[in-house]
Amino acid sequence: MPLNLFEQFQRIANAYFLFLLVLQVIPQISSLSWFTTVVPLVLVLTVTAAKDATDDIVSKLRGEKWMNVQVGDIIKLENNQFVTADLMLLSSSEPLNLVYIETAELDGETNLKVRQALTVTGDLGEDVEKLADFNGEVRCEPPNNRLDRFMGTLTYAGQKYPLDNEKVLLRGCTLRNTQWCFGLVLFGGPETKLMQNCGKTTFKRTSIDRLMNVLVLCIFGFLAFMCTVLAIGNCFWELNEGSNFTAFLPRQDGNEATFSAFLAFWSYVIILNTVVPISLYVSVEIIRLGNSFYIDWDGKMYHAANDTPAEARTTTLNEELGQIQYVFSDKTGTLTQNIMTFNKCSVNGKSYGDVFDSTGQRLEVDFSFNSLADPRFVFHDHSLVEAVKLENPEVHAFFRLLALCHTVMAEEKREGELFYLAQSPDEGALVTAARNFGFVFRSRTPDSVSIVEMGRQRSYELLAILDFNNVRKRMSVIVRSPEGKLSLYCKGADTIIYERLHRSCSKLMDVTTEHLNEFAGEGLRTLALAYKDLDEEYFNGWKRRHHEVSTSLDGREGKLDELYEEIEKDLLLLGATAVEDKLQDGVPQTIELLSKAHIKIWVLTGDKQETAENIGYSCNLLREEMNEVFVVSGNSPEDVRQELRSEVSPIGKCFPSHPIHFFVLIRGSELAFLRLACLCKAVICCRVTPLQKAQVVELVKKHKQAVTLAIGDGANDVSMIKAAHIGVGISGQEGMQAVLSSDYSFAQFRFLQRLLLVHGRWSYLRMCKFLRYFFYKNFTFTFVHFWYAFFCGFSAQTVYDEWFITLYNLVYTALPVLGMSLFDQDVNDAWSFQHPQLYVPGQLNLYFSKKAFFKCALHSCYSSLVLFFIPYAAVHDTVRDDGKDVADYQSFALLTQTCLLFAVTIQLGFEMSYWTAVNTFFVLGSLAMYFAVTFTMYSDGMFLTLPSAFPFIGTGRNSLNQPNIWLTILLTSILCVLPVVTYRFLFIQLCPTINDKVMFKVRQAKATPPPPPRRTRIRRTSSRRSGYAFSHAQGYGDLVTSGRFLRRPALPRSSGFSHAGRTTTSFSPMGRSAGYSPTGRPQNAKVSDVEVTSLQMYKTIRDPAL
């Protein structure tokens, strides 16, 4: 059971209360009745018990569901299920025992990966009995955190089979496009690679907590100091006065001044114990709990799309949300939706995409002419469809290329119901676009590609795939059309393609470059398309050489590259595509707002550099004006060190790119890295492992002493979520790992701005106001005793009535300050967003620090002097208006405590800047309560019931009817407050803080929130172009041509244009075709159903002509 902070302090508090109780039962020491300690103790225990009970209930509700999985179990996984243990793959529904998995949760990479079971286990198939009888032995490495490596052997039927990463499904993956598979559990629970990467769970405490601990220690020291001073005073008093006063007060325990001083010390410990803010911890917990509820209740952090409200999973960190300096964000799934959409294109020098009609509405293109179209694909430019229908040859070539040049595989479970299995989401999006524009990729064999081209079934002979790799940055296919024409289709990064274009394209190149710049400026991922018709003879020669090289043994890859290089030249440019890596809503705005609030945002991702950089631009983290982009991407430790050492401009970004060397970097030159990274305006770390994410966070925590926040959605973010001061999980998605280990969770990245700039800022403000005021009121209360000691022979006589001492914190002052800490706000949320600079004081710890505490103590000192000496001077030689006594102890106590209560209440009024009806009720109610309780306690009835407990009988009636008593109360209250008001007023005039300025502005604007900032689309004129985000690894080319995929019998073909049968409902929600998404979320979502229009007619007419 984890020891929580609250419990720890609970123990200290209990021990402290117990110690005080022990002191109080010693008659020589007891300066207060037992109930002054017991009543608060009972209250604290009650609150604790209530909190513990709720915590228990909550933790019971959060039990994990897969706790029973054990090593050696065989489990069956179905499509789209989350892998919950490290498994050895046994068999799968797919041909060749393949399974497709998505690892975005694990490493942030967005492409699908393939795993393949051993044939020997694959033969077990779906037969549960056979599987149950499976009797093998697996020897493997001990649990470790390497996600990219696995070594082991399977011994089965006397034979040994090697096991590597390709045969293992790790916890955190999600099964995709695979009906079912069986796996043997190798590691479960904490031994899984994912959990090994999760880092330690440490108990988090806020910086205010730590400061409070220091302060409490100081206060203990101060208490000892005060008691010592008073004990010494007592000693001197005994020697000089007390020893002579024995006629009226004999000394029972001899005449020892030192012994008396010793007793006085402990007596004063009891009286002055109120400086030690033990009850503070209870109040702080209540306030944090309240402010956590506000987060849970916030309608503006509720995401209706998946019915997910924000949740404060930890209720003890709220005020830290107002002090964040660094935000570490995951990319995939946090900043981006992990959805690619085909947004725009440029064909033969004409740009298609963004079209608005006269009313500014974007019209959706109607694809109903095409029965094979994906209904969820949305495009906004009708002219492109027109161009297709008018048989514009370039447009047709453009889409034909998209339909042919890829490694996607199609699956047609039912007639007309196509599913695409793509390796990278970009490819899926492009092929889907071609499908909707009438170039439907239908199926492939190792040597042919079947497409439905404007309703005509055509089969292209696939002669070669010149596959993608990281250096080539392009892929080509060589096909023979049914008419027998040989063509090479190529798509790739624009810079690469441009180098290989035919001279005749230069004009088109210029126009297309402009379009590419425009697309890139909008943060779209671009790709250039080109083709070339091949000469039969030349190709045959090339093919022969290709075959030779393919079968040669040495230097094969280099020679292949040369061959590819040779044929991919003098290409003719077709155009360019622009695919949007869809960001989550409001990400650029959020990032902009947070950086205005001086919060530094670092993106830590396991993804590739190109993708990360691209997202950096599109989400406004990197901007064009950051011209000095600094990329650390050394391949060896020395390189990295060298690059770090070299002089860099302070504006830029860095990409420690290769994981292994980043490790070295962390160990070797972490400080150099940190220095560099902190000079940069934006930092993006790519290809970092989950553990490295945590290490980066730790690095910043350790060396910058800054408050950090980590936000992520996947299991690969768990370690940094745990490492950062605040961990935020994106909820409402499939994986729950990140959420389960987070402190706060919500559905959208953009809610972060509300969490920090509104909830965090308010929580911090409230907590600081609370602490300052709490210390003020308790110190003031206590210091009056200190001054009184000099006038009562240091005898530990209290100034106030004991009931007042008991109830001061619990009843008379509790609710007003609690009300302030729950309702206060300087400016409302709209203004908080309008002025993100308001967040800065929190980062600088301005509202509560040692200095602020010291100021509180000084202020209390002043107030207590006023509160003691003004009543002293006012009543010491006076009498009532009927000549009777009013300078007696009980009247004096009543006067002082009433003065105190008025002074601290008025002070609270000045602290509070947001008077709701509740606050007003609490403040006035507490004062009324004071008088009600006081008159009750001092009534005849109470006295007659229990004479010894209520000795103050009649004091209220006899002194509070005196005008000079009320004049004294007025005088002390005003005198306590005047200097504060003067100081604050002058301070606001002479050096106003940002808060003062904004509050002033709000006042001027009559508290009407500013018009919401216009959501301008971020446009840049950019010379930078985004690269094509293929998988980092080698493409699927080999697999495609090998034919291993193609065992499944193809469906009988029919004409793609049957007008009747298309039903949108037949699409499974998880089908992935339009706007490819590996997570299967709907993209390019189309809301309304498609209307039948004249376009369909047009098609019908054309058909017979075929």
Binding site: E241, L249, P250, A873, H876, T878, T916, N964, L986
Partner: protein, 350 residues
């Protein structure tokens, strides 16, 4: 058809409601939009506020100061510390039943009603262990506590054998000097009548302190002894008035209401009878003091005080002066603030 459609709609609505089951309530409280008053320390409030408070305080201060100045107070020390004082002879603790005399002159009429106080200095009635040295139950007439007084009274709980009633240090140390005031009228001393009725708080006399319900009172004290310093037992404190005995003796009650500070005065008598209701006429007076109470051992002082009162109670210059000073400071600060505001008014741009 229409019916079906309706059903479908209902279904979708139900579905939507279910789907949005987690939507937080949209109330002003949960969304932190409670209407509120947001005051601010603006010049328009602070500066006029200071002027108003300042002027009000000056007004109150003037009233208090004038009132206080009109109250007459006459204080006389009779400790006998100086050798030339008549009471010097009594200051020796060995001296028993010593009587000394204090002569004084009133130059102009001392407006009535005049209150006669005795005062003690450097006397720590507020010392904690002195303060707790009493038995509340005993003082409210509980006979059980007559037989066994509370431990808090120690060492004045018993004389060794019998319980002390009233027990404890406070009761034991009750002030026991007595005074007789004479006015010199035509060469003879005329006794000024002193009224000792109703000098204690009504609640003390009627509620807080009770004698046991035993008549005669003396029987209740059977088996107890008087406090060591007392000349007479509690039931014989006032021989002239049987209702002024036991715990509800006015002088006892005044003493038991212990003072907050080490220099204090307590009401001894009122001078409100006969001709003296209008005050003490000018002339010579002499005060005959039965000097019993030792204070010199702890550097204490004894004094008598004659004073009259006003609506604000006894004379106290402090309150009036304090109001005047603070009122003036408020006005002054408002001028300073006005200058600062005019000169440094914070920039409104940004």
């Amino acid at each position: 058809m229409g019916k079906e459609g309706g059903c479908g709609q209902n279904k979708t609505m139900v579905k939507q409601e279910q789907e949005l089951a987690n939507r937080p309530d949209n109330t002003a409280f949960t969304q932190q939009r409670l209407p509120a008053w947001q005051p601010m320390l603006s010049a328009g409030i602070v500066i006029p506020g200071f002027v108003i408070i300042g002027l009000a305080f000056i007004g109150i201060g003037v009233a208090l100061f004038i009132t206080s100045k009109n109250i007459q107070v006459m204080e006389m020390d009779y400790t006998g510390f100086e050798p030339d004082s008549d009471c010097f002879k009594c200051s020796n603790p060995e001296e028993k039943n010593c009587v000394c005399q204090l002569d004084f002159n009133i130059s102009s009429r001392f407006e009535g009603p005049v209150f006669f106080y005795y005062g003690l200095s450097n006397y720590f009635q507020n010392y904690r262990r002195y303060g707790v040295s009493k038995d509340d139950a005993q003082l409210s007439g509980d006979l059980d506590n007559f037989k066994s007084p509370s431990d808090t009274c120690s060492p004045y709980d018993t004389d060794g054998i019998k319980p002390i009633v009233p027990c404890g240090s406070i009761a034991n140390s009750m002030f026991n000097d007595t005074f007789l005031l004479y006015r010199e009228v035509n060469g003879t001393n005329e006794l000024v009548p002193l009224d000792g009725k109703g000098i204690a708080w009504w609640t003390d006399y009627n509620v807080k302190y009770r004698n046991p319900n035993v008549t005669p009172l003396k029987e209740a004290f059977e088996g107890t002894v008087k406090p060591l310093f007392w000349p007479r037992p509690a039931y014989e404190l006032d021989t002239s008035d049987p209702n002024n005995n036991g715990f509800i003796n006015q002088d006892f009650l005044v003493w038991m209401r212990r003072a907050a500070l080490p220099d204090f005065r307590k009401l001894y008598r009122r001078i409100a009878q006969g001709d003296y209701a209008r005050g003490l006429p000018a002339g010579n007076y002499s005060l005959k003091i039965a000097y019993n109470y030792p204070v010199l051992s702890f550097q204490g002082r004894k004094k008598v005080v004659f004073s009259n009162v006003s609506w604000m109670g006894g004379r106290n210059d402090f309150l009036g002066i304090a109001y005047l000073v603070i009122g003036s400071m408020c006005v002054f600060m408002s001028i300073v603030m006005l200058i600062v505001y005019a000169k440094f008014k914070f920039p409104e741009e940004d």
